[in-house]
Symmetry: none
DNA sequence: TATGAATGAGCCTTCATTCAT
DNA sequence: AATGAATGAAGGCTCATTCAT
């Protein structure tokens, strides 16, 4: 294995370990020592790849968010119908978190972190998902598919994102037991047709 | 002023300062020293009222959540119509946070904290709002007001809560500028009638 | 003992220990732990009195230099004859270092530190002794006591200081054995009458 | 270029870089990394030429002092008159430092280093200049050129060295501006004829 | 021989908590 | 009850040194 490959492998190993530990203990309660042990490198080695603990955290967050971004785009783009593509986006998002629930914790913290502006939250990407869904929803709205008319595109995005986040939180809070997939049609129905029955 | 009143006043003062500082810096980055200064008591005095830093944080969180609970219940109970009472709940929630945005940070962190099991998040209350809205929504569902039929009461709660949280986050992220109140009718419409227009 | 007195005692104790350890090991090789042990206080206590290691070092240096300043002024001022007052200054300086040779090391390092401008050497006082001797020597020169005429007052100061430093260094390098006092008349003679014999 | 020459070139390059960096930052604050960069060799390569950081520092110091030694001897030996040869020694010393002021810092630190007994100061040479000037001065004294009679040869050496060091320090402290050369005759006069005028 | 990535001992500093006053 | 000085455990980070390539 070349030295460049080995370095890349180290970097991956550290990031993976960092995701694991940060997700379990949060930024402040994570000790660099834990990450070193988990990734089986010396403590000092981490500093060859990341300037400091904050930089490592930022790398974990931004990598996770970027991966989510790519997954969503890749999955929802293949669908032509914009309404279906939103469903595809939900599935993609869920499977991304299902594959590694640690990612969800990072995702969740990302929101609270951006709300309070401390040093470590200087993650450049802001409100990523919103910007992902926005074009699609704006397209739907432009085509006149969406109501009420006084609602702006952003309102639909917020509603859609809020519902998903809520169900994701529900899923995460009860590991395994909650069947998120079964809820997808319901989520779609509620978002599209509302909840009030007028006979 | 009696001794008891004076003590209670100290306690209030500490809690108020703690809310302020915890909201701005988070649990780990808050120094007890800051709270002592802000509340104008000695550092040691805090320990006469709270066992340790975690207990103080828990007190701040549970008090905030309980206040929110009471505000919602008080406001939504006076309305007879269950649908209207949900709107009342939204307004009550927003005004509660508007009065002191620090509360919103505590509320937001509360969610991420419960996701990761560290010591400080041993806040006994779990998913408070959910349990607030649940009875009302269950009542609506029982009365056959809600669709789709395959959705459980919890699904409505999750959807409703998610949308609100999303707009609250939007409001908080852009202090002042965002007009949350103007969005309440839209939130209600989206939740009740959905977003898809079928002419 | 009042609390203020106790604090002052702590401060003194820390400074004394710091002088001891800094003199023996130099700034970089001194561990705060050593000072804590030597002064019998907890490591953290030091930080109640000095912002950091650099501030402590600066305090040691400036205190030592100021004490030296005062000792020299006090001793040489009582003598009316400016020539005799220089001898008095030598004696005062020597006895100051003799009382605690650690001071000499601080004094010595002070010179090399000021030569190279690093962070820790940001001691405000510059070339202290020089400024002490200068007025006296300037006075002598003004009165026409000194030669050669083309020499400036500063030149005499430099020469005088240089000779003293040289003998002090000699004394310090061979603890105990070197009899500095016996050399004072010789120093005075060399400085005043020179070294070349012209029969 | 032969292998041996190439190795010697590496050694020279490292020593030169080390002089540069050690002079600017002192022993403790110098990072081997800096020297490696400055000398354009790998960090590991340094260890092929010097056992460790201390050995490298010692090599820099002893080389500098030896060069100074040789320069002084070479310059002062060509003069027959012992008094003139002292002046020649001053000039040689000054030009040596003027050529590379970094050397002066090493020279200066050498004195404070020998005062405190740490590991790095285990430089074998002790009080180098002294031993340079001593034979000449001893010769002068033996010939009856020097006074006062109760002064030993060492006293003259110390005085002479002290004055020079003082003026060198003055020169170094104000790079460029101070005209050391102009002071040489004054230094010589003060040393030889003293400072007190007796009409 | 040259390299620089890996290593971990070591240290400064912070801060929750204690306790004498 | 209130205070804040004292404490020391704990952790992020540095950097001399090693060693596989």
């Amino acid at each position: 294995m070349s030295i460049v490959e080995k370095k890349e492998q180290h970097r991956r190993s550290i990031l993976k370990a960092a995701l694991f530990v940060f997700a379990r203990h949060g930024f402040e309660n994570t000790k660099l020592h834990q990450i070193a042990v988990k990734s089986k490198v010396g403590k000092g080695t981490i500093y060859n790849y990341f300037r400091d603990k904050v930089a490592l955290y930022q790398a974990v967050v931004s990598e996770t968010m970027e991966q989510l971004f790519h997954v969503i785009v890749a999955r929802s783009d293949i669908v032509d119908n914009p309404l279906q593509s939103l469903t595809a986006a939900i599935i993609a998002t869920f499977e991304f978190f299902e594959e590694s629930p640690d990612r969800y914790v990072i995702y969740l913290r990302y929101f609270s972190d951006t709300a309070t502006s401390s040093k470590k939250s200087k993650v450049p990407i802001v409100f990523l998902n919103l910007s992902i869904f926005e074009p699609k929803i704006r397209e739907c709205k432009a085509k006149g598919f969406l109501k009420p008319p006084e609602a702006e595109a952003e309102d639909f995005v917020l509603s859609f994102l809020g519902i998903i986040n809520s169900f994701l939180f529900r899923w995460f809070s009860s590991r395994k037991t909650y069947d998120f997939r079964a809820k997808i049609p319901i989520i779609a129905k509620i978002f599209s047709h509302g909840t009030y029955k007028h006979d």
